[in-house]
């Protein structure tokens, strides 16, 4: 073949050829196909099932948009859409500015205790979204301490949801805006100063425009979070109907899967829209990031620093009063009648068979997702970024990895029931097992993990693989000997993220747990429904404390490990 092609160059030019595959190439391709297949199976297939279910009747006949028309014709359900959107907008308008000034204080002032403020701001991430709702009920509910402040109004409904979601979304918004603010170019400020620009003008002409994309991104993330969150409205929503609770009611309450699918699709729409906006904006943010700039270092300004400290203290008190109330409730005998301190709820939570099983299941889920999720996300990112061949599959894997963020947990969970519980699905054995909880959680939180891995990998020299190939070392050896050790900090970050979100996740698993695999977030929901606020608060506090401990342990462990394995990082030229 080769001899003939040499003789006949025309033949050679007329057939497109590619390089022969080495053993490593074949392995890389197989793995890449496996990653793509996994994402297709656990993300695309369930989603497609939902979309399909939305246009079929119970007997599997095509009915077009009938379900949607029916749904939209029901006034109470139409109201849900309006409610969901108005609540989400309200939260965006409170949470984003609040987070902006907090992030601004941390980035641009010289106040003290920045680390402490940051830690407090991130606390809401550690708890299921139910916790804040329970805490606000304790504060403002029918038997709330501060109920008189409401002047007869009720916390149940929109006000409660808004408050709870502001608390829940605050750290998300703050992290995004902090990143945007930290990208500021000090030279712009120096130039402005040299021209005698006033503080206010500087803020409006430099600071705001430079973190415009961060603000938009934060707003879309908050909006999507509120639309798709299910825990808070379930607990504090009262009769105020929202889309996410509708899905739950249709599926769990009425076993109406067709209707559930329709609401799921409606829930998907705003998420997809804000996902599109967000990914557009992120690209611009990325461009800003790669541009050469000199990082801004704030100078002490006593008055400004003092006001910023006051603001951060106020916000921290608000945040702590929420998680604090939950913890307080967990130690109180019977709110508000008997305020004696007690361990009773913890004893109940840890000794009661079902509840302690829920807690250990959550730990198990956290551990398994941390191990397998990190492996999957990092390997997937590595293969898409660094391996050769299968050019058309790479963008597809990346797209699927990004898509997972746009799918609300409830919708994903619903898709899993419909897809994996289908009588003809050979993977039916996964249903109601721990594995399906692990898979769904890995997929649900895949985007952030994938992006963390990608940005760590992008920081590596592009030619490592080329050098290794020229030295005839197969890619997996370089992967294990160089790539993984160099990216260890990112890997640890991903693992911690997976653990923490798995401990707190509710919406994605609420349809998928079985009595054997019940999780603490689900147990909290059930306890709250039964009016057992004490044990619910105890279990929620336990989750927060566990995650906080794990974070501390991780910090300590990764520091030790990094000191041991990353000696090369700290060495500089002498």
């Amino acid at each position: 073949m080769q001899a003939s092609s040499k003789l006949n160059p025309v033949l050679l030019t007329s057939t497109r050829r590619s390089l022969k595959l080495s053993g490593g190439d074949i392995l890389a391709r197989v793995l890449l196909v496996a990653v793509a297949g996994g994402l297709a199976l656990f993300l695309l297939a369930p989603l497609a099932t939902i979309l399909l279910r939305g246009v079929l009747d119970n007997n599997g006949n095509f009915v077009g948009l009938m379900h949607f028309r029916d749904y939209l014709a029901t006034p109470s359900l139409k109201r849900s859409i309006l409610n969901s959107c108005s609540v989400a907008f309200a939260v965006v308008f409170i949470s984003v500015p609040m987070a902006f000034f907090f992030a601004y204080a941390i980035n641009r002032s010289c106040m003290r205790f920045k680390g402490g403020f940051k830690f407090i701001a991130l606390l809401p991430l550690l708890a299921p979204s139910l916790l804040s709702a329970i805490a606000f009920i304790q504060w403002f509910g029918n038997q709330g301490v501060l109920k008189p402040l409401l002047g007869g109004a009720s916390i149940y409904g929109a006000p409660g949801i808004i408050l709870a979601e502001v608390y829940n979304t605050f750290p998300h918004a703050m992290m995004i805006i902090t990143t945007a603010l930290s990208l500021a170019d000090a030279r712009l400020y120096e130039a402005a100063d040299s021209m005698g620009t006033g503080t206010l003008r500087r803020f409006f002409t430099i600071t705001l425009p430079s973190c415009k994309y961060g603000l938009i991104s934060a707003a879309t993330v908050v909006f999507t979070y509120v639309i798709s969150d299910f825990g808070a409205p379930k607990v504090i929503g009262g009769n105020f109907s929202v889309l996410s609770v509708d899905v739950f009611k249709q599926v769990v309450g009425q076993q109406n899967f067709g209707r559930g699918a329709v609401v799921g699709v409606l829930l998907l729409l705003p998420s997809i829209l804000s996902f599109a906006i967000d990914s557009l904006v992120r690209r611009k943010l990325q461009a800003q990031l790669s541009a050469r700039s000199v990082p801004y270092k704030p100078k002490p300004q006593s008055a400004f620093d003092r006001w910023m400290t006051v603001y951060c203290v106020l916000v921290s008190i608000l945040l702590l009063s929420v998680v604090g109330m939950a913890i307080f409730s967990s130690f109180i005998k019977l709110w508000p009648y008997n305020l004696e301190l007690t361990w009773r709820h913890y004893q109940y939570a840890l000794l009661d068979g079902d509840l302690s099983a829920a807690y250990t299941n959550s730990l198990k889920l956290g551990f398994l997702t941390a191990v397998f999720g990190t492996t999957a996300a990092f390997t997937g990112a590595y293969l898409t970024e660094k391996s050769r061949g299968l050019g058309s599959l790479r963008p597809l894997v990346h797209l699927m990895a990004m898509l997972s963020m746009a799918v609300p947990g409830l919708v994903l969970g619903l898709g899993y029931i419909m897809f994996f519980n289908h009588p003809d699905n050979p993977l039916k054995f996964l249903y109601a097992s721990m594995s399906i909880l692990v898979f769904s959680t890995i997929i649900h939180y895949y985007t952030s993990s994938h992006l963390t891995a990608v940005s760590a990998l992008k920081a590596l020299d592009n030619e490592f693989e080329a050098v290794a190939a020229s030295l005839k070392i197969p890619f997996y050896k370089t992967f294990l000997r160089v790539t993984v050790p160099v990216c260890l900090p990112a890997l640890l970050d991903i693992a911690r993220y997976y653990f923490v979100v798995s401990m707190a996740t509710l919406s994605c698993v609420v349809f998928l747990y079985s009595p054997d695999t019940i999780l603490s977030s689900v147990a909290i929901m059930n306890l709250d429904e039964a009016g057992d606020i004490g044990p619910a608060a105890a279990l929620a506090s336990l989750t927060v404390v566990t995650s906080a401990l794990v974070c501390l342990l991780y910090g300590w462990f990764s520091k030790a490990l990094i000191n041991k394995t990353q000696a090369w990082r700290t060495c500089t030229m002498h």
Binding site: S22, D461, S470
Partner: protein, 379 residues
């Protein structure tokens, strides 16, 4: 040969045997052709440099030779073995990149030994080889250091040692000096060149820096827009550029609009210029142009006669000195030469000549363009 080819002295190490042969290599990206039909023979032991502006396809060509990219068509053979479609792992070369690409978490010794370990070599043997390589690149005491503890030039030496560890038959250098500061660049330039000659390894280097190419190469391949413009020794490239592009890209040059008059005579502005054949071998770069055709005359700043001009000296002009570019031992002076048209001519003088001829802005100077050195290309 009209005169000593200085660069020929350098190419003693290169034989005429072909180490690598490219036939009809082409690379298309969609409808864009990045490389068009490249034919090239690399001689055993020579230092061949791909020189060209960014985007000319030189790096793509190197990556195709390395198997990091595949050609759309064409074949490559190395020492008679067809490697056209082999993956990089099955080709025989070492490679050094601009970014060094040293593994940051491995020590210098581990980096250098990276390709040796896989070959089931004895540990003692590996260590001896690593020591030998580190001594070869002049860093015998750096074995236990990490790459981040070394300067850029030192890191690039380690990358070179790593590439040479397995004694490949071919060494590929992708802009190896571009990330270094000026002093380090010149030093490493000499080191790489002498190492290459000492080991006699066939080497292909990619660069956009003409000084680097002229300085290091046995032969230069000048590339432009995916095609080879000229292949030759550095001196051939500089003195006998094959195209207007090469004349303009390598070295400084004045371009004068002219019209052919036939018999190696040209008219520019309102006067005539004459070319003569080389007095020794009768060669000429003036070409045969039909009388009346538009051409461009290429004159290097140093190709002028400024002293001992007699009435018999051809191509005399009078110019008014303008801006002086002071470069130390030499100076470049811009002259307005009214009779040759509006574009000023840049003429080179040594600093001593500047004093002797009293060249300061504003003075009128008579000089002649060397009739044997003017190149002519079609307009």
């Amino acid at each position: 040969m009209d005169m000593t080819d200085f660069s020929a002295v350098q190419s003693l190490s290169a034989s005429t045997e072909t180490a690598l042969e490219l036939t009809g290599v082409r690379k298309d990206f969609g409808s864009f052709s990045a490389l068009g039909n490249i034919d090239l023979q690399v001689r055993q032991g020579e230092m061949l440099v791909f020189l060209g502006p960014s985007g000319c396809g030189k790096t793509t060509l190197l990556r195709i030779i390395a198997g990091l990219e595949s050609q759309t068509a064409g074949s490559i053979s190395q020492n008679g073995r067809d490697i056209s479609w082999l993956p990089p792992e099955q080709r025989d070369y070492g490679i050094v990149f601009q970014s060094y690409a040293l593994f940051p978490n491995l020590t210098v010794a581990e980096n250098v030994a990276y390709g040796l370990v896989n070959r089931r070599t004895q540990r003692a043997q590996i260590q001896a080889r690593v020591e030998e390589l580190l001594t070869m690149v002049g860093l015998p005491t750096s074995a236990k250091k990490y790459p981040s503890q070394l300067s850029g030039g030192q890191q690039q030496r380690i990358a070179l040692a790593r590439a040479m560890a397995t004694s490949p038959k071919l060494l590929l250098l992708d802009e190896p000096l571009s990330a270094l500061d000026a002093l380090e660049r010149v030093r490493l330039r000499k080191e790489i060149r002498s190492l290459q000659q000492q080991l006699g390894v066939t080497t292909i280097m990619v660069t956009h820096d003409q000084e680097e190419a002229l300085n290091m190469a046995d032969r230069i391949v000048v590339m432009n827009q995916g095609a080879i413009e000229q292949i030759g020794t550095p001196q051939e490239i500089y003195e006998h550029p094959a195209s207007a592009f090469v004349a303009g890209f390598v070295g400084k040059v004045n371009v004068i609009k002219a019209k052919a008059l036939g018999e190696h005579a040209f008219e520019c502005g309102d006067r005539g210029l004459r070319m003569i054949r080389n007095p020794v071998d009768g060669s000429s770069d003036a070409g045969d142009y039909r009388p009346g055709s538009e051409v461009r005359l290429y004159v290097r700043p140093e190709d002028r006669i400024a002293e001992d001009i007699t009435d018999a000296t051809p191509n005399q002009v009078v110019g008014v000195a303008g801006r002086v570019e002071f470069l130390g031992g030499i100076c470049l002076v811009e002259f307005d030469v009214a009779e040759l048209g509006k574009t000023p001519l840049t003429i080179q003088f040594s600093l001593n000549q500047m004093h002797d001829l009293n060249i300061v802005p504003g003075v009128r100077i008579r000089f002649a363009l060397r009739a044997d050195r003017i190149r002519v290309f079609p307009a």
